[in-house]
Amino acid sequence: MIHRYVIVGAGPAGVIAAETLRTTDPDADITLIGDEPERPYSRMAIPYLLIEKIGEEGTHLRKGNDHYDSKGIRVLRDRVEKVDAKTKRLTLKSGGAMDYDKLLVCTGSRAVRPPVPGFDLPGVHTCWTLEDARNIARLAEKGAKVVLVGAGFVGCIVLEALALRGVDLTVLEMGDRMVPRMMSPIAGGLIKSWCEKKGVRVITSTRVTGITENGGLMNKLVNTLTGKPTRALKVTLNTGETLDADLVVSAAGVAPNIEFLQGCGLEIERGILIDHYMQTNVPDIYAAGDVAQGRDFSTGGLEVHAIQPTASEHGRTAGLNMAGVPTYYRGSFNMNVLDTLGLISSSFGLWMGVEGGDRVEMCEPDRFRYLQLQFDGDIMVGATSLGLTQHVGVLRGLIQGKVPLGPWKAKLMDDPTRIMEAYLACNFAARVAPKAA
């Protein structure tokens, strides 16, 4: 019997799941449905498109023109409007319907604008899709005044792209520091002062209370005639200050794309709840990627880890399980790497630490170097770094490998930069032991 697999959402999770299904179940009938007009692409590549390091084709997840055809993966540009889990049938926006044996939901999330007056004005854009990127590129010209709302992880990535385009940039963050959910107070503060040194104005602990259109038609006409940018928007802050802007970029929140699943009986919190096999509570429906709330490796709880590596691992594991190869997933690992105008930062696992655990923090503020390690007993459970580009992945290895550090814990407490040596010594003890006489 030929299985009919339908995958909704053609981002990284969907594409990798489709490919895994093809290799695992060679005869299967595989359909990948995505509602964006472009070839399946990677949101992560958008910042590099904005700085023209790549063209749009450089964002595509797979480069070969016949990649999907050659693998027998049917790619539909369409939107799934409804799922009937009882009859296992989807309704498509184009009017058709489609039956499935097994369904994978990997519809990701979408950017949502803060519920503040003016965020729906022209000139205010989110930065989530290729279409957003084109809109931003049009307005973020050299010298343009740009206000970026939100300095979370995605906000900070967009920050770099905007600054490199040569705009006059102001960044607003409600939290008390940049990337508050990824960086400790010291590290977040260092990123802020680095960005300020690079000419970006960063305002933390501040909210936007409204955006209005600047001046009247006359004003715009004069600006147009004199060739000056229109400064079309006025952004008001809770401090009373106002900022003129040609463009406002909103990077202040996301929501999962789950509306079309209403009536399926799926358990949903911040995302669709899935088990260790990427299965939802509804038979034959799986979920993966940003839309899924799955096992967190570090806490054992259910979390949304909206990052590329999780989308990839989820997609692969879902594909294997759907194709009948039971594959247990230990859980996704929270990790991020960020480049803010040349200052590279990363965070791993429980970087904020655990109760009763030990922590070591090394900080050289003048050199913008920082390293923080968190331990539970003699196991490393989390880490944060600034300015570390060599062997940084070993932090994942130490944490996710739950490597017992033994005597190396004390050595790391003394000098946290010796992570690579600790890893080698603990994993390959015999090879590091003193030479036999």
């Binding site: 590279i344 062997h391 992945g393």
Partner: protein, 155 residues
């Protein structure tokens, strides 16, 4: 026959010829900080441990790449970075639990061992046979990989 780098730290004297050869081969400069193989010194134990990518089967780097810039060379089995496609996002550098993919700030791209297209300069340069390029099916190597894999299984 697929071959792999086999490293025997017992034989390493810490001369760093491998780092020199690697950076010269790949970056056209004698600059150990740009080498894809690194020798770690354990002074208390009087030990040197050369370390680089094992071209592991899990290929964490390849799977994490958002733009298909890392692919497996079918001839050598090496995971190779396509410089033109790499956007420099660094996700592979945190995804690799062995810490063997590094970001090169000069080029804005990542670098990792690619076995020099099947003729690794480090092995050729090693004067003591601490780094050799051997048949992959050799059991010692499997054991080394299994060991590494055991410490790093996420899926």
């Amino acid at each position: 026959m697929q071959r792999s780098l086999y490293i025997d730290p017992q034989k390493c004297t810490g001369c760093l010829q491998c780092e020199m050869a690697c950076s010269y081969e790949n970056e056209q400069a004698f600059n150990p900080s740009k080498s894809r193989i690194k020798v770690f010194a354990f002074h208390e134990e009087g030990r040197f441990v050369p370390y680089t990518c094992t071209q592991c089967a899990e290929a964490w780097c390849l799977h994490a790449c958002p733009v298909e810039a890392i692919t497996k060379n079918p001839a050598t089995g090496a995971m190779e970075v396509n410089e033109k496609t790499c956007v420099g996002c660094k996700v592979c550098t945190i995804a690799c639990p062995f810490g063997t993919v590094n970001y090169n700030t000069a080029t804005g791209k990542v670098i990792k061992c690619d076995l020099c297209q099947g003729d690794p300069a480090c092995a050729k340069a090693c004067p003591t046979g601490a780094i050799t390029y051997v048949d992959s099916s050799w059991t010692g190597l499997d054991k080394m990989r299994a060991w590494a894999a055991k410490a790093n299984t996420a899926a």
